[in-house]
């Protein structure tokens, strides 16, 4: 296939995608303002229903918690597939890492990154953020360890077994809270009413903070496993 054919094919595919997107967006309803529709209901009664100040977290982990469970399952499947394909042996040949100055500077910065990650996870129902974002920040620490200190350091500190434990623990926390919703409130992933406290405090909003912590550990450990299994072959060839 020559260059011209390739370009024609790419333009045809792009035109098709643009047409499909235009069709989809033209089917969407007009913007009706904040006083009508489903968003109005959530803005009005979201705080009363869930006790969560951050309404996006209220939608993600209370109204649509089942969708979030599906997202976590997708991430779990992706991690399993990548590890199955890429992972040959658990301990790779590691690099020596970067220079002394970078190592010391990131040694000072890393605890604050971890603190920010835990802040974003645990304050998911009060301020912007939540389990997913905070979990990715925690995964960034593992990436920093792999790049700056060499992946053997990452292996010694947080071995893949520990990460697997964190991931399954987070998923089981999510599912256990869902089953607790069946037993106590009558529906899967129903918000646990007896955990609700005064609005605005750290431990309030029923089971939302605990689901946040579970999802945070699950996502963070899962993405760290993905990066670890992608990086190991590189260092085998380089050093």
């Amino acid at each position: 296939m020559n260059k011209l054919m390739k370009k024609i094919m790419i333009s045809v595919v792009l035109t098709g995608v643009a047409f499909a997107l235009y069709q989809n967006f033209s089917l969407m309803p007009e913007y009706q303002g904040l006083n009508e529709g489903l968003s109005n209901y959530i803005i009005k009664s979201g705080l009363n229903d869930t006790g969560s100040l951050n309404l996006i977290t209220a939608v993600l982990y209370d109204y649509r918690a089942f969708d979030s469970l599906g997202e976590s399952t997708v991430i779990f499947g992706a991690v399993s597939g990548i590890v199955l394909i890429l992972s040959r042996k658990m301990l790779p040949v590691s690099s020596k890492g970067l220079s002394f100055i970078v190592k010391r500077a990131l040694g000072i910065m890393t605890p604050f990154i971890a603190l920010f990650g835990f802040y974003v996870i645990t304050h998911g129902h009060l301020t912007p953020g939540g389990g997913f974002q905070g979990g990715v920040i925690l995964a960034a620490i593992s990436i920093i360890f792999s790049i700056v200190y060499g992946s053997a350091f990452d292996y010694r500190r947080y071995s893949p077994q520990t990460k697997t434990l964190f991931e399954t623990g987070g998923a089981l926390t999510f599912l256990g809270l869902g089953l607790a919703g069946i037993l106590m409130e009558g529906a899967f992933l129903q918000n646990l009413g007896f955990l609700t406290a005064e609005t605005g405090t750290l431990i309030s909003a029923g089971s939302i903070p605990y689901i946040n912590i579970g999802v945070g550990f699950k996502v963070g450990a899962g993405l760290a496993i993905i990066f670890y299994s992608m990086i190991q072959k590189t260092f085998e060839e380089d050093f």
């Binding site: 951050n54 996006i56 977290t57 974003v120 912007p128 953020g129 939540g130 997913f132 974002q133 990715v136 920040i137 995964a139 960034a140 990436i143 790049i147 993405l223 993905i226 990066f227 992608m230 990086i231 072959k233 590189t234 060839e237």
Partner: protein, 80 residues
């Protein structure tokens, strides 16, 4: 507000085009990272703080690291 938004959108389109235009993978990845940062600023301008945080962390941080490790693996084989 509107002027800043127009400037950001122009810069967004520019960085997306540059990411497609260059043949070197490294430059494309850096422009994708810039794309994510500009998109974060746009989300923040529209008061979607949750999405902005997710975009900054995933798009500018994690994607760049994973793409870098991916191209460092394909660099060894010979490509056209």
């Amino acid at each position: 507000m509107a002027v800043l938004e127009i400037i950001l959108v122009i810069f967004l389109v520019f960085s997306a085009l540059m990411a497609v235009y260059f043949d070197e993978e490294l430059i494309s990845i850096i422009f994708l990272s810039i794309f994510s940062l500009v998109l974060t600023a746009l989300y923040l301008l529209h008061k979607a703080a949750d999405v902005a945080l997710a975009e900054a962390v995933i798009g500018a941080g994690l994607n760049t690291a994973i793409f870098m490790s991916a191209i460092s693996q394909i660099r060894h084989g010979d490509s056209d």
